[in-house]
Structures are given as C-alpha cells and as structure tokens.
C-alpha cells in the first residue's frame, strides 16, 4: 500500500511544530545560512527550514537520516538522482514549445523513461548503500513497491523499447543534385571520408554536429527526412504516434514530496563538505540527557560562510553549563564577539534540533523543547513606536511561551532605558526564564546583571594585553576598560606603539 502521508522530515505529521518565529531567523543569521543552501539546491529548500521538529523523537528521526546521507554511497546515489531530475526539469521547460505531434509523443516517451530510470536507479543504489535510518528504509520499501506496479513496469518496457530502436537506427543521407535521399545500411564506395580528411593534417576524428542541435523543435529539413524514414519504418513511427506517454501518469505526490525534502539534507551536506574542505570542523551533536550541555570549538556558521568568500577570521569558543547553571550573562567591550557568540549558541541549538551536524569540534545538546531569541531592534519608523516599546512588544509573547526548558538568546535589551530601570527589567526577565526552567544566554552591557543570582554564570569577551579584542569568550566578569583606550589601541597610537613605528 502506498503511504501517501510519508515524509522524510517528520515521522508523524500531526506533531509538526508551528512555523518558527521569523525574527529568530534574522536574529541568529540563519537567513544567511539558508540563503547559502538555497543557492546550492534552489529556492524550494527554503520553506523546509521554516519548521522545527516537535519533539526529541522527531529530531532523532532527522538526525538518523542525516547520518545516512553522510555516507558516501547514499550521498552519491541521491546526488545522481537529483541531477537526473533537474535535467528532466530543464527538458520539460525546453520542450514546452514543441508543436509537432510526433515530436511531442517522442519527448513524452523520453521523459517518462528518464523519470522511471532515475527512480529505478535510486532504488537500486539505495538498496546497495543499505541505509540504517528508519526514514530512508521506509522510503526505499515504498519506492520498490511503486516500481513493482504493473503500470511502472509496462511503462518502462514500452518507452525503453522505442528509445532503443530510435537510438540504434543508422541511415545514410545522400545529398546531390539538389535532392536528399535516405537509405539504411552501409555507405557506398570507400566511404571513410571523415577518416581521410582527419588524416590529411593529423586532426581529431570528430562527428559533424547538426547545426540546429541546440534548438529543440525539428525544422523543415528534419521533417522532410522524418517523412522518408516514416515510410521506411512504419511500425516504429506508428507506435510513437499512438503512444500517449506523459509524466503525469507516473508522478506520485509522495515521490514529489521526497524530491523536495531530500534537498533539505543534501543542501546542508553539500555546504558541510565545502566547509570541511576549507578547514572548518563539524560534529554530530550528542543528545545525552545525563550529561551537561556543552560544546568545544563552536563558531558562527553564518560568519564562517562569509569567511569562505572573503577570508575573514573566525574565532571558535568553548562553553558548558555546569551543575545548576542556567543562564550565561555575557559582558565585555564593544565589537568583542559577544553577539557572534550568542548567535553561535542559538545556531547550535537550532541545527541540533533540525537534525544536522553542528559547526563545532564536539557538542552535547540535551533536548530543548523550544528556541526563543530576542535581539535589540532598531526603532521602527513604520510603527512609530520607540525602541523600548518595540522591544517589549516582541518580548511579551516570548515570555508567554510557557514551554518548560526552552533555549533563550537575548541580546542587549533595554539599551534606551535608564540604567536603573534597565537593571530591574533585565533581572526580572532573567528570573522569569530561569523560573520556567529555561537555559540561555543574555548579552548585556549591564554588569549588575551578573550579580549573584541562582543559575546565572558570568561570561566575558576577552581583550589581549594591548587591549585589542580577541573574540574569545571566558568565564568571569569583564573588567572596566576605558572605551577611549580601545580606540587608541585600535589605531596603534599609544606611546610605545608610536615609538616602535617612528
């Protein structure tokens, strides 16, 4: 039986989570990452990233499939398959304008053949690759059932036979005295003109291309040739003419869905391979509930993708949540890598939930039911509301998300409020989320928020001995550093530096 509702993104579609908050994609720079993936596999993949799995089981379902996709045999089979289908898609577009009935029939035959062969090959290759994930195993079983139906079998046979005959047909066109005549069989006379002409000057033996090969519709000369051929091979051409083969007969919603969804895994895998080639590391995250949440060598994937293009430096960091630790409060100098670190944490949680490998050397991420983000916003001209107002409007629904234990990323809240007010509001927000059993990170310039509070861990962005940003994040409260000194440093204008330079 065909299981129409089958998906390789979800075991049980009733559990499909609601569309994630669009702002989160902006905040964590996931938009850039997804754009990069879409550039590899087409814009269709974008919408697949808009939903997150609803529970730990669903996450594991994807993670297992991704593990399979990482195997070379599976990956190669899938790539070959998607390339065949992409070529078919191109062919469909190109043949749209064909008007000759005979040619329409023939293209129908050819496309059905390509489509069926692509799936038959996929089934064969996948079987050989022996996938371990439930998702791919079930898919393979369903696919084999579909291919075994008499409809598919007969179709493939029929189209295959006609194509074979067309492809094997050889004939001679003799053009003289303003007439072209066509005959099957060997060339009369010595024949081997091509070989001789090539031997005159040591040239390659090449075929003469049809000058209109690039055009899809047949032209009048070809029509004239075909009408002679038709007389000589009436059965074959009758079979073509009568054939009403069309892709729609063979397409299944379930397969269509698979064609889209497989790009979700392939696009990420291709990106990962490219990044690994450039020296960036990825790890399959553990989801051990008994161990603490942690990662080593964690970096911002969106930044790394840019680095691939412009060679900028990407700094990796380690972190862990110790016993009873729930929230990082990160302080430190401007441009010190605070936001990037917060983003990389958010990405870690997001990518783990999506079932992918994560941009880190190692990672353990126990299941987190939700991912909430809040990055400081620009004042909106459209709504006319002040910045504080905008922030609160966005914050309210987040605080009403009562899922226990979500992951929360907050970046610079209440920067326009008075310090005193901001402190109080900030503490309340922290208390609220900690009370809900959430984990998270809070980036702020208010050191007071690091004051002792249960579950809060202070982190700081580090400077080197010259006061230059290192983008390294460590535990501890950032010391007071004069802002001006930073600027002087940046331009290498301190006394010692000048002594050196002059």
């Amino acid at each position: 039986m065909e299981k129409v509702g089958f998906s390789i993104l979800s075991m049980n579609e009733d559990d499909q989570a609601a569309e994630a908050n669009a702002e989160m994609y902006q905040d964590l720079n996931l938009v850039q990452i997804i754009d990069d993936l879409a550039a590899k596999c087409g814009f269709r993949v974008r919408k697949l990233f808009g939903y997150m799995p609803a529970n730990a089981e669903e996450e594991a379902y994807r993670r297992d499939i991704y593990k399979d996709v990482k195997k070379k045999a599976v990956f190669d089979a899938l790539i070959k398959f998607t390339e065949s289908l992409a070529a078919l898609e191109q062919l469909k577009k190109k043949t749209e304008k064909v008007q000759n009935n005979l040619q329409i029939s023939m293209w129908g035959i050819r496309m059905v053949d390509t489509y069926c062969c692509a799936y038959a090959e996929l089934a064969r290759d996948l079987k050989q690759a022996d996938p371990e994930s439930e998702g791919l195993q079930v898919f393979l079983k369903i696919l084999e059932d579909i291919l075994a139906t008499p409809e598919f079998q007969k179709g493939m046979e029929h189209t295959g036979a006609i194509l074979k005959e067309i492809r094997e047909m050889r004939f001679l066109i003799t053009y003289e005295k303003d007439r072209m005549s066509i005959a099957f069989g060997e060339a009369p006379g010595d024949g081997a003109y091509e070989e001789w002409a090539s031997s005159v000057d040591g040239a390659e033996n090449e075929k003469l291309e049809n000058p209109t090969a690039a055009e899809i519709p047949i032209n009048e000369l070809e029509k004239a040739c075909l009408s002679v051929l038709k007389e000589k091979r009436p059965e074959l051409f009758k079979a073509i003419q009568r054939s009403k083969e069309s892709l729609e007969t063979y397409e299944r919603p379930l397969l269509k869905r698979f064609e889209d969804e497989i790009l979700y895994y392939l696009s990420y895998r291709m990106m990962q391979l490219e990044m690994e080639e450039a020296g960036f590391r990825f790890a399959t995250p553990d989801t051990n509930e008994k161990k603490r949440m942690e990662a080593t060598g964690l970096y911002d994937l969106a930044l790394a993708l840019l680095a691939l293009k412009d060679g900028r430096k990407v700094v990796a960091n380690d972190f862990y949540y110790g016993e009873g630790e729930r929230f990082f409060v990160l302080t430190g100098p401007n441009q010190g890598g605070k936001t990037t670190f917060a983003r990389s944490l958010g990405q870690l949680v997001f990518l783990t939930k999506m079932g992918f490998d994560v941009p880190a050397q190692s990672a353990n991420v126990p299941f987190l039911p939700g991912l909430l983000t809040h990055f400081s916003v620009e004042e909106s001209v459209e709504t006319g509301r002040g910045k504080l107002m905008e922030e609160l409007v966005r914050l309210a629904p987040m605080m009403q998300d009562y899922r226990t234990g979500s992951y929360v990323v907050i970046n610079e809240l209440f920067t326009t409020a008075a310090n005193y007010d901001a402190q109080i509001m900030g503490k309340r927000v922290l208390e609220h989320f900690i009370g809900l059993g959430c984990k998270g990170i809070y980036v702020t310039h208010l050191k007071e928020l690091t004051d002792e509070q249960s579950g809060v861990v202070a982190l700081q962005a580090m400077l080197d001995e010259n006061g230059i940003q290192t983008f390294e994040i460590r535990r501890g409260v950032a010391p007071d550093v004069a802002c001006a000194q930073n600027q002087v440093n940046k331009y290498r204008l301190t006394y010692e530096q000048l002594k050196e330079r002059l």
């Binding site: 043949t95 006379g189 003109y193 051929l229």
Partner: protein, 544 residues
C-alpha cells in the same frame, strides 16, 4: 614550421635590444645607413643606373634586427653564411621576399584582415578562409619549388630552410590539402563562368551517416563522402530544367531541397557546418604556417637589406669583409672606414688600421677636427654590423662580442658649460651603470666636457677606473688633458695595464691626416708647438 634564417634554432622573437637604442642610432648616425640600405641599386651594364625608392619594410627590418646583438661566434657565423649565399644568389632572396609580399598583400586586398572577417557573415568568413588556405598552398608550393631549383647554396640557414620546407610541405601533403580544398569548391565557387561565358554550376555530392536524437532531431553525423561536381546550369523554370527535375524526382526515398525555401535554408546551414567541419581539419596546417609568411618576409627582408648594403659599399668604392670574432680584450682592423660618413658626405673616407691586444681601455686624444670622433664611430658602426652578421667596411676586422654596447656622447650643439648639462650627463651615466654588466662595451665621446677641465678629469678618472675594474671595455675620445696624463703616467711602465693610447696624427705643418697613431697623449696645438720649440728648454731648467 619555422623559417630560422636569422637564428639557427628559433624565430625572431623577443630578443633583447641594446640598451638605449635611440642613443646608439643617433650617436652613430645609423638612420642614414638604414635608409640607404632600403634602396636597391639598379645597374645598367655594370654602371649604377639609379636607386630604387626606399622599401620601408626593409628599412624597419634592418632597424629592428641591427639593434639586437647576436651573442655567440656561432650565431654570427650562421648569419654571415646566409649573407654570403644572399650575395651569391640575390635573386633567390628577392624572390622569396617578393612571394611573401604578394601573399600578404593579396590577403589584405580580399579583406582577410581580421577586422573585416569579423564584420562579415560566418559563411563569408569561411569563404575567405578557404581562399586564404589556397593562397597558402600556392605560395608554399612556389617557395618550395624556388628553393628546390636553387643549386649551390652552402649556408646552413638556407639549406636547412629548404630541408624543413620539404619535410613540412611535401608534395603528398600539398596534394591532400588541395584535394580537400577542391572537394569543398561548391561552397566557394558555386557558380563558375567558363570560357564561352556559359555558366556552370558547382554542386556538392555529400553522403552523411546519421542517426536520430531522442527528440527525433538529426544527431551527430559521420561524413562519408564529399565532392564538388560541375553540372550545366539551366535557367530556372525552363523546359530543360523541368526535364532534369523530373528525372531526378524519380530517385526513391528522396526529397528536393530547393523547392521549399525553408528546407533550402537549412540545407545551406548544413553545408556551411560541413565545410566548416572539414576546414577545421586543417587547423594544424593553418597554425603551422600562420606566422610563417610574416616571419619569412621579415627574415628575407633583412637579407635583402644586406644585399643592398653591399651594393652601396661597392658604389662608394669601399672594401668590405666579414669580421672575425676574437677575444674581448683584442681589437684589430685594417683600413676600417666610417660607412655613415661616406653615405652622408659622399666623400672618400680615410681608413684606419689598429691592433690592440689585451687592452680594455683605449684613450684617443688629439686636437679637434683630427678625426677622433669619426674613428670612434667607425668602430661602433662596425661592431653593430658585425654583431648582427653583416659585413663591415674594412679590409679586415676582428673583435670580441659585446651584447651590451653603451654610448655616452656629448652632443656638441648644446655643450655649453653649465651644471644642468653636467647633471644630464651624469644622469645618463647613472642609467648606464644600472644596466652595465658582463660583456659590456662603452664608448665615451668627450664625456664630462661640460664642466671645468679639472672637475671633468676627476669625474672621468673615477668613473672610468671603476668601469675598468668591473671588466668593462672602454673606448674613449677625450681632450681632458689631466685625465689622460694621469692615466698615462700611472700605466706607462706597466705593460699589462690594459690601457692603450692613440692620438690623431698631425703633421709638422699642421695638416691632419685623420690617422690615429699610437703614442703619448698630446694636446698640442700649433701655437704650443712653436712655444715648445722656442722656449721649451727654459721650461725644463726650471728657472723661469
């Protein structure tokens, strides 16, 4: 295929010019030499009848070639041998040069210049290309036959060229290429007009092995047969044509290609593609001879120049010889004459004979108008001519090879004494020093005369000593007395000093013979001669 008439193993390419060729040409007056050498001398009964107009290509070629020194004895002798053959068989060289000119010109005339081709249709461009290939064939065959007929060639250059040509364009290859070009005649000469002004039609016979693509279009084809056949041209719509059509219409499994204009259009497209496909087969041939004619034109132009140079040497009644290469510290010649002066002033030039062995610094002194500069220039011109394989105007000439020749001449017309001029001179010297190195020769003509004698002498002394110590060959004409005296006094007792002194001979009565004779530097004018005669003794007694 390579021409290799200028160098044994390569074509003229990006060989290094002399440094500052502009100064060399200006200071040695070589422009006059280039110009005269570009004019052929026409004889009538052994008498000079007239000079042909200048051939600017020969002029340019000489200019370019003479400014590139040869680096070894072998290279020089290779070229000298070709020059000897050229002098023996001037008509052969002129013939080759002429064929190149006519081929290259006819291409231009028929619009085969690259720009014109790009403007035309691809079919038009292909027609031009085929015609050009035919010209290649015709010209190559002519050159080959000319070379084959020529007996008595002894130079390696010309005999190798003949051998290479036979290898690269044997009769069989010519025949094959011509057959291929003839097979596609229908494309270039569809309608031909015969002697009786009755038109004939050139039509193709083509057999293609073909298959269908999946979409029923014709797939790639294999060419089985191609030829062009002449047939009578019947007026369209006439009875004769109708009969012919009827007859041809009975061919089974066929269709006409000229009734439906669309079918005809695609047929022509196929013809074009086929011809293009076949002509591409001659890519190697085209590539091989692409630059051949340009190279041969250039290289034979040089030898045409050489032939004409000798014509002019003889016209001015001078002797010539092929120089010999010797050690760099030696310089020997007999009756060396300044060629440019002969050309420009049409006077009988005095020759000089000198023999310098193991010398690297020659200081020529003497009063003005004594022929010092002429002497220096005559050596320079001879060196340049020798180093490009040409004969020189002397009874004999032996010198080492100097791939780097520098000239540092004071330009007399504006040699007013001022610091700006000296600055300019020093700057030029600085530029020269930047480039000077192994195998360098520098000619200094009245250098540093733009300052006071004392300063000039010091500057010259320091620079020349440094250059000499660096192994540079120096030829200098100077009237910086204290400089010359200082060098003379330091070296007169040392036979291995490597310094030689010559001075312009002046007879007792003051007449100048323009001969350079060895000896102590003298700067005595006529007045000083007298002084010496009358009060010289008082001077030496020290009691004035």
């Amino acid at each position: 295929m390579k021409v290799c008439l200028l160098y044994e193993d390569h074509e003229r390419g990006r060989e290094k010019d002399y440094y500052d060729t502009e100064s060399i040409i200006q200071d040695l007056g070589l422009d006059s030499l280039f110009l005269v050498a570009s004019k052929e001398v026409i004889y009538d009964d052994g008498e000079v009848k007239k000079l042909e107009a200048e051939d600017s290509f020969v002029l340019e070629t000489l200019h370019k070639t003479m400014m590139v020194p040869l680096n070894t004895k072998e290279e020089i002798e290779f070229r000298q041998d070709v020059v000897r053959d050229s002098l023996k068989f001037p008509e052969l060289i002129r013939g080759l040069y002429g064929i190149c000119i006519s081929v290259l010109n006819s291409w231009d005339e028929q619009g085969s210049g690259r720009d014109r081709i790009n403007q035309g249709s691809p079919a038009q461009a292909l027609v031009y290309e085929i015609r050009r290939l035919r010209k290649y064939c015709d010209a190559l065959a002519r050159i080959r036959d000319t070379m084959m007929r020529q007996n008595g060639l002894t130079s390696k250059g010309l005999t190798m060229f003949r051998g290479e040509l036979l290898m690269a364009f044997p009769l069989e290859r010519e025949a094959n290429i011509r057959k291929l070009l003839d097979d596609v005649l229908f494309f270039t000469d569809r309608i031909t007009v015969n002697d009786e002004y009755r038109e004939k039609l050139m039509r193709p016979r083509i057999v293609l092995e073909c298959r269908l693509e999946d979409g029923l279009k014709l797939g790639p084809m294999k060419v089985q047969e191609v030829s062009s056949e002449t047939s009578k041209f019947f007026k369209r719509g006439g009875t004769r044509e109708k009969i012919q059509r009827f007859r041809e219409g009975r061919i089974p499994d066929s269709f006409p290609t000229i009734e439906d204009p669309r079918v005809l259009g695609y047929t022509h497209q196929l013809e074009f593609e086929l011809v293009n496909h076949l002509i591409k087969k001659l890519k190697n041939f085209k590539e091989e001879f692409r630059t051949f004619f340009e190279q041969l034109k250039f290289q034979t132009a040089f030898y045409v120049g050489a032939i004409q140079i000798v014509q002019h040497i003889e016209r001015f009644g001078m002797e010539y010889c092929f120089p010999e290469v010797c050690d760099r510290r030696d310089l020997m010649f007999e009756d060396l004459k300044e060629f440019v002066m002969a050309i420009e002033q049409r006077i009988h030039v005095i020759g000089n004979t000198t023999s310098l062995k193991q010398k690297d610094l020659l200081i020529v002194t003497g009063a003005n108008q004594g022929g010092k500069s002429t002497f220096l220039r005559s050596i320079g011109i001879a060196l340049i001519m020798m180093q490009c394989g040409l004969p020189v105007t002397a009874h004999s000439f032996k010198s080492g090879i100097f791939p780097r020749i520098f000239v540092h001449f004071t330009r007399r017309e504006d040699s007013a004494m001022n610091s700006g001029r000296l600055d300019e001179e020093l700057k030029r010297m600085n530029d020269i020093i930047e480039h000077i190195g192994d195998g360098s020769l520098i000619m200094l003509n009245e250098s540093f005369a733009t300052t006071t004698e004392r300063e000039g002498a010091v500057i010259a002394y320091d620079i020349i000593r440094a250059l000499q110590e660096a192994g540079v060959r120096i030829l200098t004409v100077t009237h910086l007395l204290s400089f010359a005296e200082r060098v003379y006094n330091e070296t007169k007792d040392d036979p291995d000093s490597g310094v030689a002194f010559l001075s312009a001979e002046r007879r007792q009565d003051g007449t100048r013979t323009y001969h350079m004779i060895p000896g102590e530097p003298t700067f005595t004018s006529f007045g000083l001669d007298l002084y010496e005669k009358i009060v010289g003794n008082i001077g030496t007694s020290g009691s004035v």
